[in-house]
Structures are given as C-alpha cells and as structure tokens.
Chain length 121, copies 2
Amino acid sequence: MESVFEILAEPNRRAILSLLVSSQQSVGEIERQLRIPQPTVSKHLRVLREAGFVESTVDAQRRLYRLKPEPFQEMDAWLAQFRRFWSTHVDALERHLDRMDQSTPTKGKTKKKTARPKPRT
Amino acid sequence: MESVFEILAEPNRRAILSLLVSSQQSVGEIERQLRIPQPTVSKHLRVLREAGFVESTVDAQRRLYRLKPEPFQEMDAWLAQFRRFWSTHVDALERHLDRMDQSTPTKGKTKKKTARPKPRT
DNA sequence: ATAGTATATACGTGTAAAGGCATATATAGA
DNA sequence: TCTATATATGCCTTTACACGTATATACTAT
C-alpha cells in the first residue's frame, strides 16, 4: 500500500476524501454520513493519514480530519503526462462524458454541457 | 475491478500506460522494455483494454496497443473536485514538488520516498 | 503440412487487504 | 470515582488479485 493509486483504489476512502472537501469532519460525522461502521472508518482514516491524504487535530474526544494537498498533486503530476495526449482527442471524449455525466460524486452541480448531439451508443 | 483507480493501483499497468504515451507498442516490445514475462503483460493489457485505457489493432501476428483518452479524463474529473482545495495550498505544495520532481516511473529509480518532513500540526 | 513466432488463456498458489466484531484507550462530566 | 462518549486497535475470516508455468490459439513462412 505504498502508492497513492492503491490508496484511492478503495471506494470508501474516496468517499471519505470527497466528504472532506467541503470541510473538516469528525470520525463520527463521517461514519453517519457514509453509513459505514466506525472501526472501518477509523481504519481507512489511518491509511489515508499514513499516506498523507489527511491529517487530524484533537477536539476533546473527537478527532477532526481534514485534507492535505500533497498526494493529490502527486496524482495530478502523474496524470499530466497523459494530458497532452487526451487533449488531442476531445471529440471522442465528449461522447464518453455523455455516457458518464453524473459519475462524479461531487455535490449538486449543474453540468454545463454544450449541445451534445449524440444520444446513441 | 470496476473503477479506474483499481486499474491504476497496479504498478506494472501504470508502467505500461507510461510506455504507450510515446507511441503504440506491441506486446513483445512492452515485454522487453519492462522486463516482465509475456503472460503477465498480456493479462495486464487485457485488464487495461476492458477498462478502456487501451485498444489494439492487429498487425500480422502482432497486436499493437495504444492509449485511449476516456479513463484518464474520468480520473481527471474526479481529481477536479480537489483542485480548488489544493490551489489554496500552493506553498506546502511547492515544497512537496521539490522533493518529488521526477516522480514519473520512466526507469530504475532510487527508492527514497520514506522520509517525510512533516510540518507538524 | 510443418515449424516458428507472437499473443492469449487456464490453472494452481500465495498474499495482502477489507470487513465484522470485540475490546482497548482517551476524554468529559456527574 | 464511575459512566458515557468518541476513537483506535486487535483478531479472524473471506476474497480478490497477481504471478508462474504450461498450454492454446493465431498468423507467417518454407
């Protein structure tokens, strides 16, 4: 479990990170929002912490977890080598996004799509 | 093995993708450059193909594999939700990049990645 | 048809990680 | 002190891959 990619391979961990985008959260808050048992949350948080994705501060009995930017930047740096490549393929990409659309668990976000004339598969 | 992140969790697969950035390659070429046994290469290529990362065309007995852009874009879309966040932390980021620099697995590398000077909480 | 080359697949095995459950640790408050 | 709350950790079981080795399939050339 050394690379950032292995860390992100776990869906619950990605969910936790997405939760923390809005603001820092306690273990209990994460537990309730994601409806996964507390020991599971704590274990994933440990992995995320050791990988540098999050850090925590103590607040009474609570621990507040928040994001750290570095590993995300590391991923972005890896992805960068492919950017040049995929930007030359925007057309095929649009068709793909068409089918993907709401696959990103952000929040209620308006998807500004330019006219997409391709409902076919 | 459904998400792009799980696909990229495997180091050999990431290496294959990085190889293919420059140009399309046959299985044998990949095998020789990465020095991993041919069945392993084929298996990883299968995974990558089924996940939409690559596609292949036939050239006599060879199969030429090349990148497809969509999954990369999907990853990028997921990462996007954190961009806003990490751009407000450029300073800490710069220090990190300083230590990371050439993090792209081109070839043999020294594996000193353990020491993490933490700007303590 | 036979041999040679290139790639894919099948099978068995080891391993590591994820989850469930119980319990330990720490802090707060009575 | 004792109890309640919040979080972490330990143990156990299950499962999902990744790899090695062997073999199958496909195409080429003689």
